[in-house]
């Protein structure tokens, strides 16, 4: 688990241990590159997370892992920073650029979107495998990816995108080969979240 000064890493660490992972919380690039799977958590502001990530060479670590097909899982703002950019309160910040799209304020009556919501998982999803369609996950965020139309490609398998709804639709999770991410907090989503983490460990990390 990449430690770059963003929030409560302990919850995610404990939740991963609960489903059988051996977890090291580290800011060391060597350890982050060598791990079987790398979790990138994140809470708070996009710009602050991106700055913290850059401080530990996070974008390059993620890039190098993906080049080698080594799994990376982003959680919450750790998912958001994988996109092209973020716009918070008029401030534009470049993200890691792994996926096209902009993280911006969701249009909803009540924000933050805080609580347990359902997601529409794509068919063929690994992360949501074994979970009913009405399963709920814990979200806490005001910003999200509101539009994404993965480009059709004859050679590349397009990312699998799960959506959630609060005021409007936004991306709830992405599965894209070695790179996966959730907007919700699997580590705070009780047994449902444990299933998502277990699926990731078993079928993505292997």
């Amino acid at each position: 688990m990449l430690d770059y000064g963003s929030g409560n890493l302990r919850s995610a660490e404990r939740a991963l241990r609960r489903v059988g992972a051996e977890v090291t919380v580290t800011a060391d690039a060597g350890a982050a590159l060598a791990a079987d799977g790398l979790v990138v958590p994140g809470v708070g502001a996009f710009a602050a997370c991106m700055a913290g990530l850059a401080g530990v060479d996070g974008p390059r670590i993620i890039e190098r892992r993906l080049a080698g097909g080594r799994p990376v899982l982003g959680i919450c703002v750790g998912m958001q920073v994988l996109f092209d950019h973020g716009v918070e309160w008029g401030e534009h910040t470049d993200g890691c650029g792994q996926w096209p799209g902009t993280v911006e304020r969701i249009k909803a009556g009540v924000l933050p979107h805080m609580g347990w919501n359902t997601v529409r998982a794509p068919s063929g999803s690994v992360l949501f495998s074994g979970l009913d369609a009405d399963t709920r996950f814990y979200f806490v965020h005001s910003f999200g990816v509101r539009r994404w139309e993965p480009a059709a490609s004859s050679v590349l398998r397009p990312p699998l995108v799960a959506w959630a709804h609060h005021g409007e639709d936004f991306v709830a999770a992405v599965e894209n080969g070695a790179l996966a991410a959730t907007q919700f907090h699997p580590e705070k989503s009780g047994d449902a979240g444990a299933t998502v983490l277990r699926n990731w460990l078993r079928d993505v990390v292997g």
């Binding site: 409560n8 708070g44 609580g115 709920r136 705070k188 989503s189």
Partner: protein, 256 residues
């Protein structure tokens, strides 16, 4: 489908022990907050709130330990409040495993604390806890509701509805609205107070104070609550989490 209304049991914790509470059949020790938290989690609580009512500041360390041990085994969000005076207190609670921290009296004395905490840790983990009552006698506030301290015994003259709005302006991500008039009466939530706060903020509002029977919860949601919190009815086993959710579901409210 949308986000579910959250049902939140609150545990009053004094020097590491649950204040009041009865022995549920499945409990070995009703006074252990960690064990109680696990029971509520198993019963379907959507979040947990610990309120540290410890009088002496020397016991703070005990609370941090309770939070640590709870977060070790409960995988739903945990909010901790009571006696939070500074950003350092918030930091220690978050590091111990709290997901959100609620601030009450210290913000009345120094509102900037809310902004400082929200900027440093993110709005999503800072909750403004408002203990409010209807003004009876004395100088009225514009809305007729005022902020209190000392468990509702002391008025501050601050308008409770304006204070909630101010909290949002300063950056808090949620309002925990406690009706001190309704608290402990089991006569239902103060619906007008919920409605008034709902009209001035667009962060989530947690309604607290007055829950006595399953029928009390749907009106609180209709009045605008995004979450409902209760302490004694759950402690004493008067209501179970599942019953409350069934009643909400029957009233057309989405629950988990």
């Amino acid at each position: 489908m949308g986000v579910a209304v959250r049902v939140i049991p609150c545990l009053d914790v004094d020097a590491g022990r649950v204040v009041k509470g009865v022995n549920f059949r499945e409990l070995r020790d009703a006074g252990d907050p960690v064990e109680m938290a696990a029971v509520y989690d198993a019963e379907g609580a959507d979040e947990l709130t610990f309120l540290d009512v410890t009088a002496s500041s020397g016991e703070r360390e005990t609370m941090y330990d309770v939070v640590r041990r709870t977060a070790e085994q409960v995988f739903i969000p945990l909010t901790v409040g009571g006696g939070v005076r500074s950003c350092d207190d918030v930091d220690t609670l978050l590091r111990s495993g709290a997901d959100k921290v609620s601030i009450n009296t210290a913000a009345i004395a120094r509102p900037e604390l809310l902004g400082e905490a929200a900027r440093r840790f993110g709005s999503q983990c800072i909750v403004l806890s408002v203990d409010a009552r209807r003004v009876t006698g004395g100088a009225p506030t514009p809305s007729g509701f005022e902020v209190t301290t000392h468990g509702g015994r002391r008025g501050t003259g601050i308008d409770a509805i304006e204070w909630a709005a101010r909290g949002q302006e300063l950056g808090v991500g949620e309002i925990l609205l406690n009706s001190m008039d309704a608290d402990g009466t089991r006569a239902g939530f103060d619906l007008e107070m919920i409605e008034r706060v709902r009209t001035v903020v667009d962060v989530p509002v947690i309604a607290s104070g007055g829950a006595g029977k399953v029928e009390d919860f749907v009106p609180a949601v209709r009045a605008g609550a995004d979450a409902v919190l209760a302490a004694s009815v759950f402690h004493f086993g008067v209501l179970r989490i599942g019953e409350v959710k069934d009643a909400l579901r029957a009233g057309g409210v989405e629950v988990r």
